[in-house]
Symmetry: C2
Subunit: 162 residues, 2 copies
């Protein structure tokens, strides 16, 4: 793990914990959907929450692998196309949790400011790409909250992190 | 401004830019609402986007003032209660933009890890409170995207940051 004695706004370990805390909340949101609605419900022509979850799964681990290996493999949702039940999505989510822990710890602290062309398409400092993953998850999960409310289901508290 | 030569995951200046980028996007979302819908439209019994915006305004500057002055003034939406038009909300938003810039720069880098009892209620490291402001804004703005879609209005691109 990266260590430094200089004061930090946030350490790599804290940023990983922050992200995984958000992922724990997203997992609860997936769980809160009735099976059918997870795959079928949407508002205003938007994607279903299963499709949004596919996007989140197709970013997190593949993006971190790309960053660690400096491999510019294009973005693809192919790996999530075989998922047809909520249980399968949750299993994939949990596998991703472990893989994120493994890969994230391989980013040296001095690399966060370095530029990498993620998915061969998004050329930004690595820290900006990682914030984008987290922010994009919060954004889509917020949409999931509206879907749940529209379905008459109480979503988990926003501050839930485990 | 805080400076350090040690490698950083993110610097205070970058974190401020990150937040203000999100605030610029939220401003576009406010602008995208028709006047009437900003104050009246909602889904599933949730708050209107004007109410959600009141929350964001009642957190950002008051929270930063609290952090900088170590003042545990309770959370209040009182200051936003006089806002009755979108134009007034946008003006308040722009005033907050300037105040956030002023106050954020007064947080020394070594303070981000220090604990503060925000609003006399949320006792966490300052960095966790600041991430909470940003994440809460992304969360509610994501809900605003669903409102706009349900109204048949195309929201701004998620990656808009100015």
């Amino acid at each position: 793990m990266n260590t430094t004695t200089a004061p930090q706004v946030i350490s790599p370990a804290q940023l990983l914990k922050h992200w995984q805390g958000h992922r724990a909340l997203t997992r609860h949101v997936i769980e809160a959907f009735p099976e059918k609605d997870f795959f079928e419900f949407s508002i205003g022509g938007m994607r279903t929450f299963s499709k949004l979850t596919s996007e989140l799964l197709s970013i997190a681990v593949p993006a971190l692998k790309g960053i660690v290996n400096r491999a510019e493999k294009p973005y693809s949702e192919e790996e999530t196309e075989t998922l047809t039940t909520k249980a399968q999505y949750l299993q994939k989510w949990d596998e991703a949790t472990e893989e994120i822990n493994q890969y994230f710890k391989q980013i040296p602290i001095e690399d966060f400011e370095k530029t990498f062309n993620l998915f061969g398409q998004y050329e930004f400092p690595i820290i900006e790409n990682i914030f984008y993953f987290i922010d994009n998850e919060i954004h889509h999960r917020g949409q999931g909250y509206v879907y749940l409310r529209a379905l008459g289901i109480e979503p988990p508290f926003f501050w839930t992190r485990e």
